[in-house]
């Protein structure tokens, strides 16, 4: 058959390119018809030439393409409504996908909120005072030290009064100082830190009052309390007008009237106090004279400048006092005095901050470890959430290729499809912001409880946090949505509908990230498990003494001791009572020798009274306890513990043998069990106990059944005030000594647990979407396999085979990491007493690592594998 002659290809393509598609058909058709006609008349060569001519003649403005949008108008508002409707329908059809994304993102947002609040809190230091204190400055001193010139936040006492008298431009000065003292009120006595100030300070710095009013400040007999202090002494009643006695550091006693109670001062304030009285009471002619340059005392001095005077002027005027000061205080050379604006104080108050001012007497703004860690962790979690979001987005949009194909055929432009995807993602993101805010409520409370802070959710709405919060998910949605949006809307509808497109496959990048996610998860799980086990272990660790059953009271002399002892003996709940100079945990080192010429060995010594060992629960293995007033016992009796004998390498019975403590001979009357003198941080050391008379007792310890400990402790306090009303009560529980160690343990454990759960959920979610994708790809394959007789189990095996590899790699990496970190950092450096790193923890982790993804895969595959194969194959 003769081949049909065709017009010149190039000319055609040129026409197709420049011509308006609306006109293309008719124009090209006409030219084609002409071409065929001409061939008959003129032959093929001339016809082709004519064709070119015609095409070029058609290259005129009226035929060329216009921008697409000129050919049809779109009603944007309607389309938007359609997008929202489709988005909502889609989301409700894929509830799992939605839930995963929402929870993941919401949770990550909640973490970020908390981290930000924390940061914000530190940045808002002193915010309550800032607007009132624009012209308030602190007088700083520049000291000459071996390290060079250092700025210090205090200044000489005398400087204050000199400034107020001699310098113009200073409206008033406000001095602040604190020292220790004893406070007696309402039959309670405690040691307190007492703040002294020019009472104007309270007015200028805008401390709002709870009770009382500011006129009270002018009365020199007024004392101002904080709610916590008021509660401590006066309970719930209004303390205004009540009396309060203060014995200061110079042992002077004065009575004050409570004039006002401040509202609770938040911790992010530079000026924190428990009670405050006028600074006139602080001065003492010999040790703390108000106007003497010789005084050693350095105080905080604030000045308020009058309008029109700049700090630079005052700085110049202050220079004249440098020489004066240096004459009187040669030991404390000063090179300059200068003014520092109040708002800078908080940001120069920590060793981590630049421009640190040393020697301050004010509250520190500890920006540091806690802020860093929470921010870092939150960002990490957020990153994971975003990655998940992208992944699941891709996975589920592959599902909708058919819909996209049809939309395109009906006339959807690519930009419309992209818009549609973005809208869907945005809807999701907005929902997750909502969840994030809700979650943040709970998270903030948990955080406050855990780290003893007081972050407030309300600040979220006040500040730039809100902008950040809204911007972040929106940006994420745009990013996450853009990849699927752009990639998928590119497909030609014909290709889609015929089923010829390939689904987005999991690239190398995705695989690496997923494995990393899982590794991190694995690490967190291992850490969590091990730390939990460890914490439980340490809770139940035998310390060798009754750590949790002992309450201690500090005493100053034997009169206090005997008086108190007699008073509490009556209490049936109290087991045994004993006194000592040092309590367990406070031992000090002494050198010990068997013979005078032997090398010495350092051991720990506790000086105790008779019955102490029994009271604290250290068992006697041989020999006897001290006898209270035995002169020989006091002089030369010692009880040693097993470790000491071990260290001395004695094989025989140690009783009645002699050792030299600090060169003095003692003989051994008893052998005690070992106990953990150093808490969790060191091995049980060699210890010895010697007897001291009651006149040297500093502590009274009582042994009480565990469940009554709190009650008894309270009772002790009451009894003390009855017996020794003028002496401050200082009592605590024995376990407080190692409380910090245990506490940190619990904190770490909680953190790890939290991290483990969070990352595991995220990883599982990410995993779920990858698996869904894979299953989708192989739907037909599964269907066919089933037709040929494959069982559900075989299917699951088939699909999970791909992923087992990653999980195992993740497990290995995570375990290694976990092992290294925990073994090296935690156990070797920090705790001596810990559980051995057993196979159990790793085994459990492996189990979890396999279980969670296993379930995920299982769920997805099960659905695919149990589908009716005819249905699967039919849809093609």
């Amino acid at each position: 058959m003769k081949k049909k002659p065709v017009p010149p290809r190039l000319a055609d393509r040129f026409l197709e390119w420049h011509c308006n598609p609306e006109l293309l058909d008719e124009v090209q058709g006409d030219l084609y018809e002409l071409f065929q006609r001409r061939i008959k008349k003129y032959g093929i060569r001339r016809s082709r030439w004519f064709y070119w001519l015609n095409v070029l003649m058609f290259f005129q403005p009226f035929t060329t393409r216009r921008k697409e949008s000129q050919y049809y108008t779109t009603n944007d508002m309607d389309m938007f409504k359609n997008y929202i409707r489709t988005a909502i329908r889609n989301l409700s059809r894929h509830k799992t996908y939605v839930l995963i994304n929402l929870l993941g993102m919401g949770f990550a947002l909640a973490c970020c909120i908390v981290a930000f609040l924390n940061l914000d809190y530190k940045l808002r230091f002193d915010e309550h005072h800032l607007d009132k204190t624009t012209s308030v400055y602190r007088v700083n001193t520049v000291r000459d030290t071996e390290n060079g010139k250092e700025p210090w936040g205090t200044s000489p006492v005398a400087l204050g009064s000199v400034i107020s008298q001699d310098l113009t431009g200073v409206n008033r000065i406000m001095r602040l100082h604190h020292s220790n003292g004893i406070v007696k009120a309402n039959d309670k006595t405690f040691g307190e830190t007492i703040h002294y100030a020019d009472m104007d300070l309270l007015k200028i710095f805008n401390f709002p009052l709870l009770y009382g009013n500011s006129t009270a400040f002018d009365d020199p007999k007024t004392v101002v309390l904080t709610p916590a202090t008021a509660l401590k002494y006066f309970g719930d009643e209004n303390p205004i007008g009540k009396e309060l006695v203060i014995i200061d550091q110079f042992k002077r006693e004065n009575t004050f009237i409570v004039g006002a109670v401040m509202q609770k001062i938040p911790e992010n304030t530079s000026i924190l106090f428990n009670l405050m009285i006028s600074i006139s009471h602080a001065f003492e002619p010999t040790h703390f004279p108000e106007h003497d340059w010789k005084a050693e005392a350095q105080i905080t001095t604030f000045v308020e400048l009058t309008e029109g005077h700049a700090p630079a002027d005052i700085n110049k005027m202050l220079d004249q006092y440098v020489a004066v000061h240096n004459v009187f205080r040669e030991d404390f050379k000063v090179s300059d005095f200068y003014l520092q604006p109040f708002k800078e104080l908080a940001f120069t108050s920590d060793i981590d901050l630049p421009g640190e001012v040393k020697g301050r007497a004010l509250n520190r703004n500890a920006v540091g470890f806690l802020v860093g860690i929470t921010t870092f962790l939150s960002l990490l979690i957020l990153l994971t959430a975003c990655f998940n979001f992208t992944n699941t987005s891709i996975a589920f949009s592959s599902n909708r290729l058919k819909e996209i194909g049809i939309r395109k055929v009906i006339g959807g432009a690519r930009h419309q499809l992209i818009k549609q995807f973005m809208v869907e993602n945005l809807v999701l993101c907005i929902l997750s912001i909502g969840i994030g805010l809700l979650g943040a409520q709970y998270l903030t409370e948990a955080y406050n409880g855990l780290f003893d802070q007081s972050l407030d959710m309300r600040y979220v709405f006040k500040s730039r946090v809100l902008i950040f919060l809204i911007a972040l998910p929106v940006v994420t949605a745009l990013f996450a949505g853009s990849y699927p949006a752009f990639y998928i809307s590119k497909h030609q509808p014909v290709a889609i509908l015929k089923g010829r497109t390939k689904f987005a496959t999991m690239g190398k990048f995705s695989k690496v990230l997923l494995t990393a996610q899982f590794s991190f998860s694995c690490f967190a799980i291992i850490a969590g498990i091990i730390l939990t086990q460890n914490a439980a272990y340490q809770e139940h660790l035998d310390f060798g003494y009754d750590l949790r059953k002992i309450a201690v009271t500090a005493v100053n002399n034997s009169k206090e001791f005997t008086g108190f002892q007699n008073a509490i003996e009556q209490n049936a709940n109290i087991g045994s009572i004993a006194g000592s100079s040092q309590i367990v945990g406070q031992s000090y080192e002494v050198p010990v020798k068997t013979n005078p010429d032997d090398p010495e060995m350092k051991v720990r010594r506790l000086e105790v009274g008779s019955n102490y060992l029994q009271t604290v629960g250290i068992g006697l293995l041989a020999g006897r306890d001290f006898i209270e007033s035995s002169a020989s016992d006091l002089e030369q009796a010692v009880i040693v513990n097993q470790k000491l004998i071990e260290d001395l390498q004695w094989k025989e019975d140690p009783l009645n043998k002699q050792i030299f403590i600090n060169g003095k001979p003692y003989h051994i009357i008893g052998l005690a069990e070992n106990h953990k003198e150093l808490g969790l941080l060191g091995e049980e050391p060699a210890c010895l106990f010697t007897l001291v008379p009651p006149s040297e007792f500093k502590y009274l310890s009582v042994n009480v059944p565990v469940d009554q400990l709190a009650e008894v402790n309270n009772g002790l306090m009451q009894t003390w005030f009855q017996v020794n009303p003028d002496v401050p009560y200082e009592g605590f529980l024995q376990e407080m000594l190692i409380f910090k160690q245990l506490y940190m343990n619990i904190v770490l454990r909680n953190l790890c647990f939290f991290l483990a759960v969070a990352t595991l959920i995220m990883s599982a979610a990410g995993f779920f979407s990858i698996v869904s994708l894979s299953v989708l790809k192989r739907t037909k394959e599964i269907g066919i396999r089933k037709v040929f007789g494959g069982s559900v189990k075989q299917m699951m095996h088939l699909i999970s085979r791909d992923f087992i590899k990653f999980i195992l790699i993740a497990f290995v990496v995570g375990s290694l990491l976990g092992y290294l970190v925990i073994e090296e950092v935690l156990f070797n450096k920090m705790y001596v007493y810990h559980i051995p790193l057993g196979v159990g923890a790793f085994g459990l982790t492996l189990f979890i690592m396999l279980l969670v993804p296993g379930l995920t895969v299982g769920l997805r595959v099960y659905k695919a594998a149990t589908a009716n194969p005819s249905e699967i194959l039919r849809y093609e």
Partner: protein, 110 residues
């Protein structure tokens, strides 16, 4: 009617569309004009005129009739709208009136 200026070529095209009733597409119109008016007309100028006429509202088009000679491409078929008919009538009236107004002298001489 004011504002409906009908150029000379456009009028030709419009008339041809009327002649070819329901079979009026680019090439056919070109052929018809060439055979009746005896002048060479390019397909592109005809297409241009057709587009302009449709924009002015004198023509109405529809797609139809893909044939083998055209390589399977459709043609755009035009018919005259009522507005177009009105425009043609008016043009014709103006011509006729002007014809009538020419005194016999011009045609027959003195």
């Amino acid at each position: 009617m004011k504002g409906t200026y009908l150029g000379e070529f456009e009028e030709l095209v419009l008339l041809t569309v009327g002649i070819l009733y329901d079979d009026a597409y680019g090439l056919a119109i070109t052929d018809e004009i060439e055979s009746r008016a005896g002048r060479t007309v390019t397909v592109s100028s005809v297409h241009k005129a057709l587009m302009r006429l449709e924009q002015k509202g004198f023509l109405h088009s529809r797609m139809g009739g893909a044939t083998e000679e055209r390589g399977g491409r459709k043609k755009r078929l035009f018919i005259i709208t009522n507005t177009g008919k009105q425009a043609l009538r008016e043009a014709r009236e103006v011509r006729n009136e002007m014809w009538q107004a020419i005194p016999k002298v011009v045609w027959e001489g003195i």
